[in-house]
Symmetry: C2
């Protein structure tokens, strides 16, 4: 890959220029680079950059980008590196621009329900700070160590999309630095805007391929009221998934509806050393219900429960104590790490119309059987976002081609059912080869022209989203 690279190399002269911007302590070379070489992508290789630079201000980001642009050095922006698609892996070397020092919460505005934060602030720090002001940020992609800038760059989702939406729906404005070094500020503390093009919405989900996001203005909400969790075992995965569209068709809007198969439960129990109730059953729904008070919660539970019972539910388990609720949620959050440690080959992130989930999962299961690669599914049944885990260890790499063929078939099936290939992880490096399954040539070319409007020389996170030309 590097032999045909159009990019320049990071010379000693360039290192000196970078040090003049951020100080020598924040220009990392040598051993420390392994920490900037990859993210949490399953089976992702390490791509150590030539240098990692840690600016403290937007002006420093601007100066770094000017140096990179002048010398045609590829730049890979990095938040916390918790992404799942290799978006933060500097596959062409060059500069990793780490936002880790830009971790200040600049303002929490209680009158306008907004938070203005630097891109390197973690979700955990944001949640703590807004809670202290009696407010809440509802989008939770399942990893509290993730950086807000990364959440924005991937349009991170999570369990709560069915009710609250995704990161995109809570970003009111951005500060971003173009490769030219220009610092632009977009949006503001308002929901309504018909003033020219919406650069905020355009930049969300672009995975660092257009600009470096340096600050984020987020919309906040009042703190959630009461929460209850229903954990519901089913005789079959089909029954579990099929009852979800029925719940939603009735206009009910739980904060989250998750499904998982028995195999996931087993693997996660092994990994975490904990057990969960009804573990012997085939499939499960985990439904999160929120309301202002007990009555509202009870009304929702009274409406949801009979739908589940008449669709093959075996029982409905209410954890009762706060501790038991937390255990269940923590169990859910550990699934990805359990799968990672178990040796999952790859994980799909397809989203389909919620009415098509059962059909999609059944068709994929069959493809797994046909290919000889075991498949386990889980996901966000309420919003149609299905994660399909291709299981098995692949020490000698022989499964790689087969895995990729199966992943391609999964993506193609999702698109055929009216969905698309990534619901929340982003394409990054992991899924870039599948983009053309979801977007025809006109669209891909249009996107590349839009990227050029920001990044004429192609130095911003090259090799991501789009496959090799």
């Amino acid at each position: 890959m590097e032999s045909k690279s159009p990019f320049g190399k990071v010379s000693a002269e360039i290192l000196a220029q970078l040090a003049a911007v951020v100080g020598e302590n924040h220009v990392l070379t040598g051993d420390g680079l392994e920490n900037y070489a990859r993210d949490e992508m399953l089976g992702g290789k390490s791509f150590p950059p030539e240098v990692a630079v840690r600016p403290a201000t937007s002006d420093e980001v601007s100066a770094i980008l000017k140096i990179a642009e002048r010398n045609m050095i590829p730049v890979t922006p990095r938040g916390s590196g918790t992404g799942l698609s290799g978006g933060a892996a500097p596959i062409y070397g060059g500069i990793v621009l780490s936002l880790e020092r830009m971790n200040k919460i600049l303002e929490i505005d209680r009158n306008n329900f907004t938070a203005y934060v630097e891109a390197g602030v973690t979700l955990a720090d944001l949640l703590k700070a807004v809670a202290e002001q009696g407010l809440h940020y509802p989008i939770y992609p399942g990893e509290s160590g993730s950086a807000i800038g990364g959440n924005v760059a991937t349009n991170a989702g999570g369990m709560r999309a069915v009710k609250d939406g995704v990161t995109r729906n809570f970003v009111l404005g951005l500060e971003a630095v173009l490769p030219s070094g220009e610092i632009i500020s977009t949006g503001g503390k308002y929901v309504k805007c018909s003033t020219a093009y919406d650069l905020t919405q355009l930049l969300i989900g672009t995975e660092g391929t257009m600009a470096v996001i340096t600050r984020v203005l987020l919309k906040l909400v009042p703190p959630p009221g009461k929460t209850e969790i229903l954990f519901i075992p089913f005789h079959s995965l089909h029954d579990a998934i099929s009852c979800v569209p029925e719940i939603l068709r009735q206009g009910l809007l739980p904060a989250g509806i998750e499904f998982m198969e028995q195999d996931i439960v087993r693997i996660t129990e092994q990994y975490s050393g904990t057990t969960i109730p009804f573990r012997e059953h085939e499939a499960f729904l985990l439904i999160i219900v929120e309301g202002a008070n007990e009555d509202e919660i009870q009304q929702q539970m009274d409406a949801i429960s009979p739908i589940c019972m008449s669709n093959g539910a075996i029982d409905i388990f209410l954890p009762g104590t706060e501790r038991a609720k937390r255990n269940l949620m923590e169990f859910r959050e550990k699934i990805y790490y359990a799968l990672q440690s178990y040796g999952t080959l790859d994980i799909a992130d397809v989203v389909v119309p919620r009415s098509a989930i059962a059909e999609f999962v059944e068709s994929i299961k069959q493809k797994g059987v046909d290919s000889g690669i075991p498949i386990i599914t889980l996901g966000h049944a309420g919003d149609g976002n299905v994660h399909i885990c291709l299981m098995g260890k692949d020490p000698d790499g022989t499964l790689y081609g087969k895995t990729k063929d199966l992943m391609k078939a999964i993506c193609r099936e999702g698109v055929a059912l009216g969905g698309t290939i990534s619901g929340e992880h982003g394409l990054g490096f992991a899924k870039r080869d599948y983009l053309t399954l979801a977007a025809d040539e006109s669209k891909v070319n249009l996107m590349k022209r839009i990227k050029k409007a920001f990044d004429p020389n192609g130095i911003m996170n090259p090799g991501k989203i789009f496959g090799e030309d």
Copy 2:
């Protein structure tokens, strides 16, 4: 303007080509063109196009755009022509591409809560069709004759942004035709998407300057429950506006919070021949409260009422009957037409952070006094979107320069308070000269480069959003 036009003229040969695409009956020249010459912009002049073309399909739109692109003919897309900023006025002549015949509701999906409609479908027809399926589309910009394509092109807002957001928040996907004739389809029946760039969100609010929107996939919701309206007179405008941030700070979320001054009431009463209660008072809030049932409504009213009373409200009027509620809402909807008929010179559409409304309105009132142009204000207090009406008749055009100076000062003040210059009307032709007050050179140039990625020859609705070069 036309003498320096870079554009070609619509020749007889081009007319014949257009007729070959849509049929002679749908290629209008001569007298009928006056109907395609302007929209509802206050004081907007007529700009008859050279030809108006009425395609019936996306393929026909594609063929028309190819003809236009080949001959460098400017194209102005048009829905119902109810816009307020001259966006549909073909100021360079050329082709008006009217979507009026593309008025089919293609699908209402009760399982996924979506509607897929052609761009020329009116809001009234959409609302009727979704209601028949037991569903609802909550964004209501106050003009049921508007076309959905136009709602999308301007990111139309309305009274309900405080709770439900704006058009942007309910568009899941689009079909659009580029000037190259390429037809692209974006998004789908899902909320979560991290698959490359979000062309849906990018196209919303671009006022026909990038592509022609031909189909829209909308998100629907369950029908609203009960609605109650509180109509609240205050001793002063200051009191009325000041109590709004307090309501919202408490986490209450009415479906709408409107404010208006006595002068507006008087003008609208004259225009409509109706009267409203408490008309003798200085200022009013109209608060729309929604809930699943009477209890939820009562809870909200119980929380809102004391805040208003302790902030200078004189009384709280509940219309009681459905008829009385409808009268009040209809009164509110007539305001724009009353202002138009009264001879309002211009109307501002500034949005500011909701906490800054009182400061903004007071500062603007003073500017009105200083300039000698009477000012009346009304607007969406819940979301910070303030309409400022510059009043007076201007038969000889002598007020034009002064009006523009005042409008500039109003926009500048809105931006200084953290807002922007158009909350819901769009810039179109009416506000294009103010764009640079809200966006610096870097941003404007970036937007122009993005436009070029869609429209390299600049034929799409030229002279809109951006001022003259």
